[in-house]
Each structure stands twice: as C-alpha cells, then as structure tokens.
Symmetry: C2
Subunit: 327 residues, 2 copies
C-alpha cells in the first residue's frame, strides 16, 4: 500500500465516502473503542452509513459507551469502499487477513502509536498524541461536525483510560485542552469514572488480598515481592488476567524501587512481572531470564518451581540494586 | 470584620504590601500548601518579603513541593500588616486566636469552599473552583507575575490532590484549562504523581490487606462490609488515619452500591464510615446512629461492641436498600 501520510487526504476521503466501516483492535480498550465510536457517530451525523467492527467481546466496563452495542465481530457485508482503522499499529491488530479486503477499498489509518506501520493508503499517525482520541477529536472538528454528548462521552473515556486519568507522562497540555473542550458539553464525569473504574469483579479484589497477604519487602525496603500460585487463582475464582495491575499496590509503598510479581501459570512455569519506580532498569533483569520490555516495566518466564524461581530473581534484583548504588 | 468580597481590592492590597504572611489550614493537604506556596513565590518575585505558616507538620508526600521547607508553625514576628489565608473556610482552621492578630493588619481570605465564613477584610471565595489553586493561578496571572516551574509544580499538585486526579465531579473544563496552562511550562508530571501517590507507609498496605481479608458482600451483592479492630491496627503497626480511603477498594466492586467500614476506636466505641455509589442516601443511615455527612459519604459512632454494632448497621442498610428498590 502507498504510504502517503497526508491527513488532509484522509479527511477528504471520509468527506466523500457514502459509507464507512470502522475497525478497532483485539483486546479492545477505552481508546480504540471510544475513538472509533466517536468518529462513527460523527460520520453518521454527516449522513453516511457506518458500521463498527471489533474481533473480541467488549469488556463490561465499556458497555456504557454510546453506540457500543452496535460493534460487530464480523467483517461488514457488503464491504464499503472506505475502511478506517482506529488505534491499530498494524493490520494484524484487527485479526483480519489482507485477502478479506477488496482491492477497490481505500484503507485509512488513524493512530497514535510510534510503532505504527503506516499500512493505510492514507495515514494520520501522531505519536505526540496521548491517545487516538486526541486525533479523533481533531478529525471530527475538521470534518465540521458539532461534537455532541455521546461523542464526547466516548472521547473522554478514551482519553481517561489511555492516560491513566491524566497521570501518564504521555499527557500533555493539549490533552487537557481537549478534555476541557469535552467537559464544556456538560459531561457527567463522576458517572463515567464510576462506569470505567468501579466495575471490578469480586474475584479481582480477593486476588489483591491474596497477593498482599504474601507481600515481602526485601533489600532494605527497596524490593517488594508478591507471589500468586495456581491454587490462589482457583481459591479466589480469579482469571489469570485479573492479576493485571496488582504490582501497582506494592509499587506505591514508600522506599520501594522495584516490584516483582511471580505468577504460577503451569508446572515449572512462572511468569515474572517487574516494575521499577525511578532508576532501576528492569528490562536488563528480565533479559537475564530470556524476557524483556522497557526500563520501568518488563516481564519474563522462568521454567523452575516457584521457590527456585523466586530465589533466582530476588538474587538478580538484589545484585542490580547493589551495583546501581555503587555507580 | 468587614465582609467586602471584592477580589480587585484583595489584589490591590497584595500589590501594595511590602511584606505578606501566608497561612494554610490544620491537617495540611496538597491544595492549601501548594496554593499558599505558589502565591508566596509569586509575591517574592514581585520583591516582597514573604513568610509561610502552617500549624501542623507537613505530610511526607508534600515534602517535594518547592518552598515547603520554609513553612513554619509559629506566627511570624514582626507581624506583617498583610495576612493572606489560603483554602481556610474560617479563622479557626489555622489554630490561631483572633487576639494574636494586630488590629492594624489587613486580613485577606482566598478560598473555594462554599462554607467559607468570609472572615477577611477582603474575600475572594469562588465555590465553582475545584481547588483554591484555580483561584491562586488566576490571582498570580492578574498580579502580572510570570508563572515559573516551581509555582506550576505547587499549583499542579494542588489541582491533582483536590480533584482526585481530575476525577471528582468538582472538576470543570476550567480545571483542565488551568492544568494545560501549567503543563505548558514542561512539568515532570510522572515525577510529581510518584511523589504524591507512591509514598504509602507499608503499614497502610498491610491494613488494606487486613481489611480485605474480612470483606463481606451482602444484600445480593449490593452491600460490602469491612471491619478493623484495634488489634488489626496494632498487628499492622498502623495509625487510625491510615484506614482513610480503604472503603474505595470495596466501592469499586461491580454491583456494590454501599460500603461500610467499621473501625474499633475504643471499648464499645465503633466508628462507621459509609459510602454509596449511585443512589443510596447514606447520610440518612448515619443519622439513625447520631451521625451525618453527605448523600454519598457519611459517618457515625456506635457505642456497642463490634458484633452488635455490625449487626445494627447492616440491618439499617439492608432496610434502606430494600425500601429504595420499592419506591
């Protein structure tokens, strides 16, 4: 596909299209769903036919989003000539094969990931944007559609979820300016936050309790270790993915620089999730166990029994903490 | 004191004053301290002598605020003629007696609480502001002082702490516009958030684990009950005030409408903290036990042993939930 990056052409294609199919990525999150819905609702206001696609079921915390019940896991038929991919780094993110796309279709790609593969005929990729919602809002404004509360609810949810409530370092002055523009429409932000953040399964809270009950603080208070065995998940009635975010609790303890959560996923198979607060490069530690990630967040799989896996990773972290202090 | 509410006169007094003493309230929080420091640093930039007062020690999570080490618990001597009270609803909030204030002093009162007593000679009270920081930023702009990073760090911290990261319903479009103005100065927001939110004592995390271990879900999943006995605090090495915020965890469970945390504070003395999510009026429930508060957050003291206190409040809540559904 031609790698033109002209946002003006993308806008022009949308303006002229009588019908548009919108696509969002697997494991849907607030940004891909909210941005897709907001753009779709805006295109509908312009009189276009619109369809929404996502390959996976929507997580329950996003079910309140206006328009969300219209999202389908099937490729729209008949296939519109204009296809807009929202928040997808590459074509694979939507679980479709290229052969399903008609050669007559125009592929539009709107995203904020720096790793975006510019797979569209026309691409609007802005890695400075904290969320695809920032681009979506600019697009809707440029299409000349007046933002309504349904669109604003979708876009605000997208901003909030992708920036961790304006906390992540990706948040910019522009993010806040766009949030202000949305709040001008009189959004019920307490209601939105309740829908997004207060829908935790009881099993997840039980799993938190379980992880905290075994919390160990080592290395003069700099290292926090949490363990979850298969039996813990069974006991709490929790799914594996519910351990997501548990490290944050240990990370917020004063003096803690690094946290490791060791999760038993099978016999002799331990998943290690690592986070650091200020300086320790956990990517290097994960790499020692064949894993990787980023400086402040990384992971690895250790093929040992829990006790041995725990001992090895604690030793590696303690050494890294020590050599860090020596520098 | 004369209850003039003219902000123009307040600004004029500050403009002319050669030295200003700034005051913030007992149990200092991010807003009173951050707003006070930002205004003081701005006045200093105008060439004025400035002193900062707070009766209590600063919580450790605010120690990173530029200028915070200059805050003193003593009334400044010699007493400047201009005294500015920041974020204080009334004069008692600073633990000073009126007699300590010279009759020649001009008292200025800058606040965002609707219950403000307009105790100053000149008052700038705006109950629409999500934080006193909103007023402080407007004031600094009107004084013609260019905001620098130190002031911005103070003001951003004040905004973030008083709005729960822009989540509370007090947050407005204007709050986000002011945040944008501050972020334009290139703040390190991850660093600020780490300082504010990731400084929890280990004892507090242990108390969370303890409270969650006894979590009960009743009334078809609508009611969550948590218990903390004196022995739990002792075991965790936790202070009473560390139970603050624990209700939030139970409140975020899907389906839960109301949470009660019962805390033993002495023999036959149980403090009940109540929160509701969407509709239940917990103020009415607290009132049945001689307490009170707001619709969504209230408290009471029950003079019974824990088991009996628990049974009575559960009965009261279950009845309220039932009659709510009947309406």
């Amino acid at each position: 596909m031609n790698e033109s990056t002209s946002r003006e052409e993308l806008i022009e294609v949308l303006r002229k299209a009588p019908s548009v199919a919108l696509f969002s990525h697997v494991s849907p999150d607030g940004d891909c769903v909210g941005s897709m819905l907001a753009i779709g609702l805006a295109l509908e206001k312009m009189g276009k036919e619109v369809s929404f696609y996502n390959p996976d079921p929507l997580p329950s915390y996003l079910a309140f989003l206006p328009g969300s019940s219209r999202i389908r896991p099937d490729f729209p038929y008949p296939q519109p000539k204009t296809l807009l991919f929202v928040d997808c780094t590459d074509f694979q993110r939507v679980n479709l094969s290229l052969s399903e796309i008609s050669s007559e279709s125009t592929v539009l790609n709107l995203d904020h990931h720096i790793s975006n593969q510019l797979f569209g005929h026309f691409n609007w990729v802005d890695a400075q944007a904290s969320a695809s919602a920032e681009i979506a809002l600019t697009l809707i404004n440029q299409l000349g559609v007046e933002i309504d509360r349904d669109m604003a609810t979708n876009l605000y949810t997208a901003l909030v979820t992708d920036t961790g409530c304006f906390r992540y370092s990706s948040t910019t002055a522009q993010t806040h300016r766009l949030a202000a523009e949305l709040l001008d429409l009189g959004l019920d932000i307490s209601g939105i936050h309740h829908n997004i953040f207060d829908q935790k399964p009881l099993a997840q809270i039980k799993l938190l309790q379980c992880a905290l009950s075994g919390l160990e603080i080592l290395a003069d208070g700099q290292l926090a270790v949490m363990i979850l065995n298969l039996e813990d998940f069974r006991k709490c009635g929790a799914e594996q993915e519910m351990s997501e975010g548990l490290v944050n609790y240990a990370q917020s303890i004063v003096g803690v620089e690094v946290v490791v959560l060791l999760k038993e996923v099978g016999p002799q198979e331990i998943k290690g999730g690592l986070r650091s607060n200020l300086w320790l490069n956990v990517n290097e530690i994960a790499a020692q166990f064949g894993g990787g990630g980023h400086k402040r967040a990384a992971g690895c799989t250790i093929r040992l029994a829990m006790a041995k896996a725990k001992q090895s990773i604690i030793t590696a972290i303690e050494e890294a903490l020590k050599s860090g202090r020596d520098h």
